[in-house]
């Protein structure tokens, strides 16, 4: 049991940079969108690249030191996980509650309520510029969050197919 806990702890530790980055991203973006929409877009792109880069790094690190059976397990899980994870994401997005909550999240991040219809913006040109940048930010954010969702679902699918492989290979075998 302690081994399992240690494995879970180590996994959580390795996964924590993504969670921290996502937390910082969600916390900072509404404020940044109000003050500098362009910088908010840069942050969004940086966050997307970070998640992608970190996923590649983790993938490379995890395959080091594996034997051929474990590599075959990884190949089986990732090839099935990528396809079925992407398919599952599409199905998930077809569910209205999921799609609506994602749209709400994008709107909340890209167009903070304090800005929309803000009495502080009286100049119509300034209002039009801000609205333009917010629309752009919303589209960029929708793409980034969509890509992040696909990756998360695919990761879960890969874990699921790893489990299937383990079952197929006969579990853990003898304990001695």
């Amino acid at each position: 049991m302690p081994n399992v806990l240690r494995k879970i702890g180590r996994g959580a530790l390795w996964f924590s940079p993504v969670v921290v980055a996502f937390g910082v991203f969600v916390a900072v973006t509404p404020w940044l969108t109000r003050h500098s929409p362009a910088l908010a877009q840069v942050l969004t792109a940086t966050f997307g690249l970070f998640v992608l880069g970190y996923a590649l790094f983790m993938g490379h690190r995890m395959t080091q030191g594996l034997d051929e059976v474990q590599r075959a397990a990884g190949a089986f899980a990732s090839s099935n996980g990528w396809v079925w994870g992407g398919f599952a994401t599409l199905l998930l997005l077809m569910l209205p509650p999921v799609m609506n909550s994602l749209i709400d999240m994008v709107n909340a991040l890209a167009m903070p309520r304090t800005l929309v219809g803000s009495p502080g913006i009286t100049d119509p040109r300034v209002a039009a510029t801000v609205a333009f940048f917010n629309r752009r930010a919303a589209i960029t954010m929708a793409f980034v969050l969509g890509a992040a969702l696909v990756m998360v679902i695919q990761t879960l699918a890969i874990v699921f197919f790893s489990f299937i492989w383990q079952r197929r290979m006969g579990g853990s075998g003898e304990l001695s």
Binding site: D67, E68, V69, G171, S172, G173, E174
Partner: protein, 65 residues
């Protein structure tokens, strides 16, 4: 592919973990190979045979073609 790993291990009184250590793979991998659920590569088959001091043909059955 059928093999005699279980019998040979028993004769040497090795656990799966011990054999795994000798051929530098995980215990789960030995379990999968031993049960015929995974066919090892030629280098790994040679390593397993070497661990028992036998030839590959003495450990693994020739698959039917």
């Amino acid at each position: 592919m059928k093999n005699r790993i279980h019998v040979l291990r028993a004769a040497k009184e090795w656990s799966q973990a011990e054999l795994a250590l000798r051929v530098r793979v995980s215990r789960n991998s030995i379990n999968a190979i031993e049960n015929g659920r995974f066919d090892p590569s030629l280098p790994l088959a040679f390593r397993i045979a070497d661990a028992f001091g036998l030839s590959v043909e003495e450990v693994f059955d020739k698959p039917e073609i």
